[in-house]
Amino acid sequence: MKNLSLGSKVRYLQGAALGLFLIFGYLVSGPEKPSTLAWALFGLTTLVLILLLYTVHRILVGIKNLTATIRKAANGDLDQRITRIKRGAATGGAAWAVNDLLDQQEAFFREVFSAFEHASQGKTFRLAMDQGLHGAFKDAMTRVNVSVESLGKVQQMAIKEKLIARITNLNSGNLIGNLQSIQEYLMNMTQELGIVGQISKETAQEAEASRATIESLVADLNRMAEMIARTNAQTALLHQKGEEINQVVQVITDVADRTNLLALNAAIEAAHAGEAGKGFAVVAEEVRTLSENTKDAAASIAATIESFGEATSRMIGDSEQVKEIAEGSRSAVIDFRAQVLKFADSAETSLAQVSKAQDFSFASLVKVDHFLYKQNGYRVLHQGANSPEARAVQTTHLTCRLGVWYHEGQGAESFSHTASFDRLEAPHASVHQNVQEAVSLLGTHWDRDEAIQEQIFGRFEAAEQASEEVVQVIDRMVEERHRRA
């Protein structure tokens, strides 16, 4: 009886109760007083009926339990199970079937949850287990695992990317700092080289002036030497003329001596002549006085010529010394001139070198400016469209350091003659324009739109190409300027 199914049990009970009821009805409805047997049968029938009612009650309780559990499950509470299921209970089979269904569902959900939880941490080894699941549950799990696997891979990649992104961010942040320090350094260097350049220029100008001074000094010394030589010759001539005058004075003295003698003889003769010779004696006296005077004058001339001769002799000696000194000065000045020339040459060379160094330094500075400019653009990716970096890229190709230099500064002055000068404007403008466009696209919902991402990448790529060209053109400009010089 115990292992009979619910339907059979009820049917047996129904049949038995009905049969007994008929017998009992027959016995008690007869003319005789009901027998003991009839009463017994009545009792049995009642018992069967009570049993029937109890069974129905148990079935109803079982169904109530089942309904409650299924309702809870329908409301999403899969934790419930029906326990203490009596062996052979009418609803036992149904209860176990409900438990099995809930076991399948709960195992399914927990597996799915665990597998996704692990996959979201990049743990791809923990797939959902389908063993023990049946039918649609098992089939669904196979499909779930496809998603779990791809999520796991994506997560692994995302975890990897996260570090890469963080390090890239860190790197670019530091790169900007590093570039800024180089920029500052180059700025100082360019300034310092400017000062050095100015000094070199002044030195070269001074060397040039010194060279001119030396040249005129040499010319003066040359002229002086010539004049000394000429003076020497004149002095010698003077000396010679003095000798000649001496001889003439000697002749005059002789003439005067003889005239004196002659006058003495004439006076003697006049005295002989007496009164007649008185006049003649006066003339003879006059002649003698004249010859005396002539002799005195000649002696005085001779003395003058004598001292004149001594002076010219000393002059010749002195001028000989002056000539030597002038000669010495001249060769010293010529040596000095050679040195000044060399100095002027090296001042010229160092001016050229300094100017080259200054150009290199400035070229490096504007290159760094542009690297920084691009870096700021890249940083907007991490720092957002309202960051200081985003504001920093708003400078245009006319207002940035290179732009000012190119359009109104030294660049136009010193480089406009180079062949590459005109080729700088277009790529330079392109760097600024592309970075600015990329940054403005970074202000949109680019993080959700691959088409915008593609555009942003394209702008950055174009900026990189343009920047490469800017660097090359600057290099060529510097080279061309200094090849000419």
Binding site: R81, T83, R84, W96, D100, A107, H118, K123, G132, L133
Partner: protein
């Protein structure tokens, strides 16, 4: 209290498409077991309900594994473990147990849910060897904290050699 069965060499094997499902309260007292559980353990449902889950604990299992298991699930984590269980008649059966905590609507821990599946024979072989070594370590160090420590150290050493986490290791078998 039930008398602990005497272990025998008789093995019971879980069906390929079956799984044992059981639930316990926070203390490990069984609150539900499915029919497969009842059948393979040899205990009736009334015997299982209200009994501690440890009635199935086989003496060949190192205690360190159960410590790891409890530590993990009490920290609201999921644990998977190869376990040798003891049936009522003394026979044993290997399972790959997966235990997850159960929460109420407010997120409070209310019990544990365990699904046990048939393990791959190769995995059982590997784990049986490891468990023997761990059990030996526990026995040598003397039962107690020292034994637990030695056995756990052995497990960590094995994992370190393979450069794997415990989870990676058990799922890789």
């Amino acid at each position: 209290m039930m008398i602990r069965p005497q272990p025998t060499q008789n093995e019971r094997v879980l069906g390929e498409d079956d799984f044992i499902v059981s639930k316990t309260d926070l203390k490990g007292v069984i609150t539900y077991g499915n029919r497969i559980f009842i059948e393979i353990s040899g205990y009736s449902e009334p015997e299982l309900l209200g009994s501690p889950h440890s009635i199935l604990r086989h003496p060949d299992m190192p205690r360190a594994i159960f410590k790891l298991l409890w530590d993990t699930i009490q920290a609201k984590g999921e644990i998977c473990a190869y376990v040798k269980n003891l049936a009522k008649d003394g026979s044993f059966y290997w399972v790959f147990a997966n235990i997850t905590p159960s929460f109420d609507r407010h997120g409070n821990l209310i019990g544990y849910y365990s699904v046990r599946r048939k393990p791959r024979p190769e995995a059982v072989q590997t784990m049986a060897g490891l468990y023997r070594a761990m059990l030996e370590a526990e026995r040598l160090a003397g039962d107690g904290q020292a034994g637990m420590k030695a056995s756990t150290a052995l497990l960590h050493q094995t994992l370190a050699q393979k450069d794997m986490s415990y989870e990676e290791f058990v799922f890789g078998l």
